[in-house]
């Protein structure tokens, strides 16, 4: 019989709040985390995109001086999120050899790398910080989390652009189900609100240029959507075998019932317009969960607010759910948080877990004129979900044709 894997701790730092309760409350209240960037470099480089979702609580307000000096900003978010999740899980006693970490970033230590290059160019080789390499490496966040909780069962980093942290959670599920580990801290983070990634995403016209009205810029499914809005932060969850969680009397939020990854092999950035790879990922996750499409009551969609991406995901959903799709409450929470890239899947998985636990689907902002091509039942004010056993999924897709889906189920012993 397949082992049941459960969620026993949540942690996050996001554009909506410095922890999970604050973030969730702000999300349900319909707040936007998007604002006009105040950094001098926005004007210096004449960036066409001047908006982003900055972390509500700067990492420097939480971590020690040494931690902020030695960790890339992305790893700082990872550590904050993981510590909250770990404490929320009751700082479980577990054999270090049976404790693992799956922690992702989409882009890695971009601030460290580019700052170091500026230093080399402007101030010479001797001024390049000795910690530059461990700070910029993409496994830096996972390593920081692993050291913090003394995980010796293997610390890994899946990198698949904006699907990264959903893939991390799916990988955690595999490692727990196989019996290799008792607990995995899984999640993702990003801090790429730097002029170079902003310029690069703008060059490919992937991001919204609605600088005049930042809070309205991220508008999934709206006819006037014009791209995503970058966000920063991180999310983490403590995943545990049911057996281990029950033995220590842990509180259980939900069951992580399925997690799967597929790939399009279609185009490096464009989604497959048929949505075939995404549809397969959803079906695989549901099969792993032992769930049928009619069990699904809520979807936290990838829905970045790009013109083509939102439609491709809809096409995939229609393929999978068909006539049942109008009965499913769909939330596009990037409308509030912006797109955390490698951290997006982690915070959206947390929202999906909380939606199940609180039986409330969170709202989607800025849906003023729903695109007639995407006739989903989009949640615009917090909506009550059904009582009884329910399943909800969270989708993430990334450049490279990566599709990752996780399925959660309300927990019953």
């Amino acid at each position: 019989m397949t082992k049941k894997i459960v969620v026993t701790g949540l942690g996050a730092t996001t554009p909506l709040g410095g922890d999970v309760p604050t973030t969730w409350q702000a999300l349900l209240a319909g707040e936007s985390g998007i604002s006009l960037l105040q950094d001098e470099w926005v004007k210096r480089f004449e960036l066409p995109v001047a908006i982003a979702g900055k972390a509500k609580v700067p990492a420097s307000e939480i971590l020690t001086v040494q931690e902020t000096k030695r960790l890339d900003p992305s790893s700082q978010f990872a550590l904050i999120a993981a510590r909250e999740a770990w404490a929320d899980a009751g700082a479980p006693e577990v054999s270090p050899e049976r404790l693992g970490v799956e922690f992702s970033t989409g882009i890695g230590g971009v601030w460290t790398l580019l700052d170091a290059y500026d230093t080399l160019r402007d101030r010479g080789v001797r001024r390049v910080l000795p910690m530059t390499v461990p700070m910029l490496m993409p496994n830096g966040p996972a390593a920081a989390v692993g050291m913090d909780i003394a995980a010796r069962g293997g610390v890994r980093t899946a990198v698949s652009a904006c699907a990264s942290s959903t893939e991390a959670i799916a990988n955690a599920l595999d490692r727990l189900r196989s019996g290799e580990l008792d607990i995995v801290v899984a999640g993702g983070c990003e801090q790429a609100v730097h002029p170079l990634p902003i310029a690069a995403f703008a060059a490919m016209h992937a991001t919204s240029r609605n600088n005049e009205n930042p809070a309205a810029a991220s508008r999934p499914y709206d006819v006037n959507r014009d791209g995503f809005v970058m966000g920063e932060g991180g999310g983490a969850m403590v995943l545990e075998t049911e057996e281990h969680a029950l033995a220590r009397g842990a509180k259980i939020y939900a069951e992580l019932a399925g997690g799967s990854v597929t790939s399009d092999a279609f185009h490096i950035t464009a989604p497959d317009p048929e949505g075939s790879g995404a549809a397969r990922a959803i079906l695989k996750a549901l099969a792993q969960a032992g769930a049928s499409t009619s069990d699904v009551v809520h979807i936290n969609a990838h829905a970045t607010s790009t013109p083509v991406g939102d439609i491709a995901e809809y096409t995939a959903l229609l393929k999978v759910f068909g006539d049942q799709l109008p009965n499913i409450a769909v939330s596009a929470t990037k409308s509030s948080t912006g797109h955390l890239l490698g951290g997006a899947g982690a915070i959206e998985a947390i929202f999906t877990v909380l939606a199940i636990k609180d039986r409330t689907a969170p709202p989607t902002l800025n849906l003023d004129n729903q695109d007639p091509e995407i006739p989903l039942d989009v949640v615009v004010t917090p909506r009550k979900l059904a009582d009884g056993p329910i399943v909800a999924i969270s989708n993430s897709f990334g450049f490279g044709g990566h599709n990752a889906v996780v399925a959660f189920r309300s927990y019953e012993r």
Binding site: T64, V65, Q66, K69, R70, R126, R127, L129, P130, M131
Partner: protein
Amino acid sequence: MALSKDEVLAGLAELVNDETGIATASVQLEKSFAEDLDIDSISMMTIVVNAEDKFGVKIPDDEVKNLITVDDAVSFITNAQA
């Protein structure tokens, strides 16, 4: 004009604080960087490079291993200014 030893100590304490968060008052002449202040070699290298900028001196890499105590560093910098 060259700084006095006290002035170098005060300036160095600020650099240590900036890098590690250790209170400036704890950075005293008799303290060992590694043993008493728990400053590792990586932080030490950063402090050294910042000290070069702040005090306008050169601290060769070979010299850094001899800077065991705060007094060692303050004396080296004070003399190097002259």
